[in-house]
Amino acid sequence: MSKKILSPLPGTFYRRAAPDKPPFKADGDVVAVGDVIGLIEVMKSFIEVHADASGQIVKFEVENEEPVMAGQALVELV
């Protein structure tokens, strides 16, 4: 059964800590509860998004630097 990791806040989603850094997670990676899967920039602050479920990443549903709503699915896991 697939699970989704949702954005805790509205803002802009980032998949890497800095433009020259590798992405936190890639498609196919295994994630554990608490792993950082990305950042949300909200009001000029960067908030880490932690996985609240474990599994393997099927795909990211939001691209790097794309705007997101609170509760929007960021990642699909199996």
Partner: protein, 455 residues
């Protein structure tokens, strides 16, 4: 030539503030906005509004081409940059002037000089303004650093030349600590900023942040006294006062005169602020940097002097000379501003965007609330968390604090979390009441006191 159509290259409460000043001068207001700000108060109030791009600031409020295009398309004759965004961007000031429009602020050349740390420091030294003792250029090696440290005296700061905003700073109390810190700081600076250059600066424990407001017309310059802005979190001011109550009259006079000397020496045009660190024990002030724009906390200066700073900026930009002589600027009473941010103090100041379901704005004598809020407004996650500035004035500091407590009780913002509760606690904190604080006080207090006991 007086201006007739002004484009406001900003958003939020400062856009509202600029519109008010412009309208009072009979100037037509053109408000640019991103697609996230179509329902903003500034857009609703403006005579005219132009969409300049998507929500991300880099694609709208920081997009110089889009702003110049909008200004030309709307026949603007001037551009007000507000604060933040492009307000201290020399290339933007140049682009505005190159398009045949007036930039409401100093020239691009002035912004360039004062925006460069070393150039600003050199200009201050030439104008006779005290600067914190330190190395004049980046350090060659540890031996040179130890020699210089002997002249400057401990404690001192080891700063990364390419750092900023408080990053890349270490403090050394002794020669041993200096040697260790130089090795680590050089490596860290190289990794973080790609530049291992370091310099030394005297560290002032328990320093206050004090800043002087100046106004210039490109020839003459005056000061509008100073502000005390030591209450900061992560180097962001949260509470500001005017005047700086810790200064004696003699120190105030010297401080303000030094600011005017520097402003005159660069033929400053517009509103600007010179920031200083103040060593209270030694009664010594040191210039740190100049902000070549209007500042968030300008209202406290307006409250104690009766001068509308934003209106003066627009008049000066229109070519008018300063209408005040120094002796016309009188300091009366005391003013305090607290920043109401959409953040939750109980959750480590986590941002709290969203819809404001109810709003009650404080009022009454000596009370001012500059805000972007209205009931039903949906606060965007894309921009700064500042949603309002509660400003009070009264005859003295004690009465201003009492008025602040009263006004804070009147304020109601429902639907989001704000820093109102932080300010209610601060306005009752003994150190704040006695004025016994410095730039590191608030962060310490937040750890030790603020949420230890439930309110």
């Amino acid at each position: 030539m007086a201006l007739s159509r002004i484009l406001i290259a900003n958003r939020g409460e400062i856009a509202v503030r600029i519109q008010r000043a412009a309208k009072e001068l009979g100037v037509h207001t053109i408000q640019v906005h991103s697609s996230a700000d179509t329902e903003s108060l500034a857009v609703k109030m403006a005579d005219e509004a132009v969409n300049i791009g998507p929500p991300q600031a880099s694609k709208s409020y920081l997009n110089i081409d889009a702003l110049i295009t909008a200004a030309k398309a709307t026949n603007a004759d001037a551009v007000h940059p507000g604060y933040g965004f492009l307000s201290e961007n020399a290339a933007f000031a140049d682009a505005v002037e190159a398009a045949g429009l007036v930039f409401v602020g100093p020239t691009g050349a002035t912004i360039r000089t004062m925006g460069d740390k070393a150039a600003a420091r050199a200009a201050a030294i030439r104008a006779g303004v005290p600067v914190a003792p330190g190395s004049e250029s980046t350090l060659r090696d540890t031996a040179q650093a130890i020699g210089l440290a002997g002249e400057i005296g401990y404690p001192l700061m080891i700063k990364a030349a390419a750092g900023g905003g408080g990053r890349g700073i270490r403090i050394a109390q002794s020669r041993e600590e200096l040697e260790a810190a130089i090795d680590q700081a050089g490596t860290e600076a190289k990794a973080a900023f790609g530049d291992g250059g370091l310099y030394l600066e005297k560290f002032i424990p328990r320093a206050r942040h004090i800043e002087v407001q100046i106004l210039g017309d490109g020839v003459e310059a005056i000061h509008c006294f100073e502000r005390e802005c030591s209450l900061q979190r992560r180097r962001q001011k949260v509470w500001e006062e005017a005047p700086a109550f810790a200064l004696t009259a003699a120190v105030r006079e010297d401080l303000c005169a030094s600011a005017v000397a520097l402003a005159r020496s660069v033929a400053y045009r517009g509103a600007g602020t010179l920031e200083y660190l103040y060593d209270e024990a030694a009664q010594q002030f040191y210039f740190i940097e100049m902000n070549t724009r209007i500042q968030v906390e300008h209202p406290v200066t307006e409250m104690i002097t009766g001068i509308d700073l934003v209106r003066e900026m627009i008049r000066i930009a229109g070519g008018a000379p300063l209408q005040y002589r120094q002796q016309d600027v009188r300091l009366r009473g005391h003013a305090i501003e607290v920043r109401i941010n959409a953040e939750d103090p109980a959750r480590n100041f986590r941002p709290s965007p969203g819809a404001v379901t109810a709003l009650r704005v404080p009022g009454g004598f000596g009370t001012r609330f500059d805000t972007l809020l209205y009931a039903g407004y949906d606060i965007s996650p894309f921009y700064d968390s500042l949603v309002g500035k509660l400003v009070v004035w009264d005859e003295n500091r004690e009465m201003a604090l009492s008025r602040l407590r009263r006004a804070l009780c009147e304020l109601i913002v429902e639907g989001i979390s704000t820093t109102q509760s932080l300010h209610q606690r601060l306005a009752a904190a003994p150190d704040v009441l006695s004025g016994d604080f410095h730039t590191r006080w608030l962060e310490q207090w937040l750890i030790e006191d603020s949420y230890r006991t439930p309110s």
